[in-house]
């Protein structure tokens, strides 16, 4: 019977050429995966930063009166301020509570800081009698 299939395999040259083509085409493709990793990281940071801001916002809203031990009053700018320093794995924050001169409304400004840069912010208001 005649042999229908050639079982000689591939030559060394074919393997070298194949590896070369893979090197040229697939390695740039691997940048995709690196890019994916970076975007995932940015997304995670975004989420953690807004969670941090929300944590401080809810902490203020839960207070009956402004806690003067945590928030120091600056008589020059008429604002209550708090600075949370950045720690290992945690964001820092700059928090301002600005009382409205004409009413009981207090405006809240929260800036989330990462290595000296503002990465997220949240503004709101609260009523303190």
């Amino acid at each position: 019977m005649r042999k229908l299939i050639n079982r000689k395999g591939v030559t060394l040259m074919e393997i070298i050429v194949t590896l070369g083509i893979i090197g040229i085409i697939v390695i740039p493709l691997l940048n995709f995966f690196v890019l994916c990793g970076r975007i995932l990281n940015i997304g995670r940071n975004e989420y953690e930063a807004v969670q941090t801001a929300q944590h401080y916002m809810e902490e203020i809203k839960a207070m009956d009166v402004i806690d003067s031990e945590i928030y120091s009053y600056d008589p020059e700018s008429y604002t209550y301020e708090r600075i949370v320093l950045q720690r290992q794995g945690k964001y820092g924050a700059e928090i301002k509570i600005v009382p409205d001169i004409h009413s009981v409304l207090h405006r809240i400004e929260i800036k989330v800081i990462d290595e000296g840069e503002i990465v997220n912010s949240l503004t709101g208001s609260v009523i303190f009698e």
Binding site: L29, F32, C36, I39, I127
Partner: protein
């Protein structure tokens, strides 16, 4: 093609396999990138939703302040009207109290919508399309505040319950506006 008719050889098969491998890697890369972008957009949207939520809540707080100011104006106006009445009829204290109550309720119901309704971001409006009326000395004002940030839209609502102060308390200086206004039935949705 093989020179020998009917015989199959494997020349070029490595290239075919290579193309298949590259196609698989490419498909995996693009689909992963797509998933990651969707993930990032969700996180971004989450941030904007939270910012919009606090913005819409801010609109409700400002409406509370506006309503509070209106109550004080209503009390001031009513006291003024009662004083004018008492100059003419000094003995009729009972009627003076009625005048105070009716003027106070009319002043509030006539002006509350114009004071609270506002355009912009957040936009705030009184949800009741008809006229507002006091029932058992309580005026319920349903408020709706809407804030938009890029693609995120947040609606928060609340009811402002406004009471009627006693004329005597106002005259005696025992009246405090914060006792006659309160929030009730908070809610929010995307």
């Amino acid at each position: 093609m093989s020179k020998e008719r009917g015989k199959i050889n494997n020349r070029g098969s490595v290239l075919v396999m290579l193309i298949i491998v590259i196609a698989i890697v490419f498909a995996m890369g693009t689909s992963l990138l797509n998933i990651v972008f969707i993930n990032y957009n969700i996180k971004k949207f989450n941030t904007e939703t939270k910012q919009a939520f606090y913005l819409s809540e801010n609109g409700l707080n400002e409406s509370y302040i506006a309503a509070r100011n209106l109550i004080e104006e209503a009390v001031e106006d009513s006291v003024h009207k009662v004083r004018l009445y008492l100059i003419e009829y000094p003995a009729n204290e009972e009627e003076a109290e009625n005048i105070f109550n009716s003027n106070y309720t009319q002043f509030l119901t006539a002006n509350i919508k114009t004071r609270i309704n506002r355009c912009g971001n957040p936009s705030v409006e009184v949800r009741n399309s008809g006229s507002l009326i006091f029932i058992s000395d309580i005026l319920v004002v349903p408020l709706r505040s809407e804030a938009v940030l890029n693609e995120a839209e947040k609606i928060a609502w609340v009811e402002l319950n406004i009471g009627v102060p006693e004329y005597e308390d106002v005259i005696d200086g025992e009246y405090d506006v914060k006792n006659y206004i309160e929030f009730g039935n908070w809610g929010s949705k995307k």
